[in-house]
Amino acid sequence: MLLIKGGRIIDPSHNIDRKADILIDRGKIVEIKSSISVKGAEVIDASNLIVSPGFIDMHTHLREPGEEFKETIESGCRAAANGGFVAIACMPNTKPPNDNPSTTRFIMEKARAANGVKVFPIGAITVEQKGEKLCEYFSMKQEGMVAISEDGKSVMNSGLMRRAMEYAATHNIPVISHCEDHNLSGKGVMNEGVYSTRYGMRPIPPQAEEIMVFRDIALSELTGCQLHLAHISTASSLFHIRRAKRKNLKVTAETAPHYLYLSDDMLYTYDTMYKVNPPLRSRADVMALRKAIKDGTIDCIASDHAPHSPAEKEVEFDIASFGIAGLETSVGLILNLVNEGVISVKRAILLMSVNPARVLGLPSVGIASGNDASITILDLKKEWTIDPLKFQSKGRNTPFAGFRVKGKAVATIVSGRVLYSEL
């Protein structure tokens, strides 16, 4: 038995915000009361801490199968626990991609052998992500797949995307869209703006994202398919998302912590740690996104954890891989925004726990008797420095190295098992 004592429980999904103890037995929450004492129970002292339903990173790249030198399912799960996540959803763009039931099953089996962090595979939209032929969504769902996405690219053929969304809707599978018009982004490596002009780098216009956001919202309206827009980075995309929400379409959206902190002017050193797709946008976009996580236009924050080995990053900017390893920095960066007054702690929990679970349709989350005991404990006061050398992830590629943040996930509990704790 595990007893979490004295914490402030915040669970917006059950409208809870109060101090209470939580008793956990055999992986389930058995009691929530102002004061519980049980002989022989393992006790976690959560006084002055926040007890939240477990954080879920709905956009992670685990690199296995195929690029195990960058990350494995096992190392990614360790990184997740270290970063405060009880569950992660992994994108299909591995080598080979997760485009068939046996690959989905392989991921589930590997995940079962890992530390206990829950892994929810996301399947590809098309076979080999070639944009030609639909995958067997139904059979993949039976193996544990929770959503489909062509992450890393867009399905450029709008006719095919329509059919994919119709077929996914048939089986109640959400579609997660990576929005990028590849003819517009071309060989670009940074946001198109004053700074791409000044720094002499090939540009990616914000319209490459905006156009696909608009297209996929239109297709969601046409097909009735649940659409989730991944890693939104521009103010212009927010305009279309707000419009879709006003029309009550089944559209949700996510952004990543780096789009809430970093902007394209920072690329003056040509440091490849800042190379990410979609690219870091203007300061005005950063401010617009900070507003959107507060007002609810953005539903979720996901890390877009994209681990790379030094060989992919310690090269010329043009040929460096896109991506930031974010599993172990995301929660700290978002709690830091809470401390800066950008969002409330309740909103942070919605963005990183409650809403991702809703979008992916995950069962019985939240702090209530009888529910699975997956909990993240937060220390809003803890100040720490981001140090990639302390990552459990194999990927140390982060532009946040040396960043001071206030707020940290201090314990990660999955189905009653303490996978990470500094308490």
């Binding site: 780098m201 090269v315 043009d318």
Partner: protein
């Protein structure tokens, strides 16, 4: 004007020359003044001074280049440095070695300077962070080509142009030109006015924010300018759909006899080379007395000598 015969250590406080962005107005004038002193050396019977004797220079060229590579080589040799040429076909790059590994391998041989030409923007900055040698950017992707801008500025000055208020028109593919970008940045620092000429497809986004004006009309620009700088048009831009045909490009943005009628008598025509005759510039324009293309090449050696000297500036050297 009093030229410094002796240049003191520390007067040029840079390890590398990777961009015009990094230079102050004072730095630029120091380079131009130093180059004037060095230009004379190339006119001597014995074209050599011992300024960089015992120093090793590596010319690391990952893109084909004749004039820039040769110019650096001549400059280094006239300063008595030992120079080694490495071109992409000759180097290990084709075997899959990364720039990082190449740089570290070469550094083990203790060079004092590394001159890099590379097709990716920011490569010189990248190299300068990983090696202790002085890095000179000989062109990085579509970003910068600082010694070209410096030799262009030297040539303008030599033709009695004062930078304050000087009207410079740069014509052609601005978006993909490191020559244009370095000139825009440098000329701005010295107070010149820059006008860019070309179709919108060849202009970078919001380039006006770099304190320049843009026109699509070559005739107007030529009539306005004290300096007309033509850029080389890469024929691959046509296949990328940035302009429809050579014929139409040259009709709109080629410098020919007819357009030349509008050019001021004391204006000069420049081109970083190599030229596409009959595309951006017609043969009669090349032969016009206002065309200073060969002066640019000559001055390139002096400017590169000055830059090598200033970056290596450990010793006091009497140039007399």
């Amino acid at each position: 004007m009093g030229m410094p015969k002796v240049i003191k250590k520390g007067s040029f406080n840079h390890k590398d020359l990777v961009s015009m962005e990094q230079l102050s107005e004072r730095d630029i004038y120091l380079i131009l003044d130093t180059a004037r002193t060095f230009k004379e050396i190339s006119l001597r019977r014995v074209k050599k001074v011992p300024a960089l004797q015992g120093k090793t220079v590596i010319n690391l060229f990952f893109e084909p280049s004749t004039r820039t590579r040769t110019s650096f080589e001549v400059a280094a040799k006239r300063l008595s440095a030992d120079i080694i040429n490495i071109t992409s076909t000759a180097s290990a790059v084709v075997k899959g070695e990364t720039l990082m590994d190449t740089a570290q391998t070469l550094m083990a041989m203790k060079p004092d300077f590394m001159i890099i030409r590379h097709s990716y923007s920011g490569s010189a900055h990248f190299l300068s962070r990983i090696v202790s040698a002085s890095v000179l950017n000989a062109g990085d992707g579509i970003n910068e080509h600082p010694t070209q801008a410096l030799l262009d500025m030297y040539t303008m000055r030599e033709h009695n142009k004062k930078f304050e208020g000087l009207r410079v028109a740069i014509v052609g593919d601005i978006a993909h030109s490191r020559v244009a970008r370095s000139n825009i940045i440098g000329l701005n620092k010295l107070g010149a006015k820059v006008l860019l000429v070309g179709p919108k497809t060849l202009m970078p986004y919001n380039v006006e924010k770099m304190n320049v004006t843009v026109t699509h009309n070559l005739k107007e620009a030529v009539a306005w300018a004290d300096v007309v700088m033509m850029l080389r048009i890469q024929l691959e831009r046509m296949t990328e759909g940035l302009f429809p045909s050579i014929r139409e490009y040259s009709m709109l943005y080629g410098l020919n006899k007819d357009i030349l009628k509008h050019l001021k008598k004391d204006a000069i025509i420049m081109h970083p080379g190599p030229i596409n005759r009959n595309i951006e510039i017609s043969p009669d324009v090349v032969n016009d007395e206002r065309c200073v293309i060969l002066n640019q090449v000559e001055n390139g050696v002096a400017v590169r000598m000055a830059v090598l000297f200033l970056l290596g500036g450990q010793q006091r050297v009497n140039l007399e």
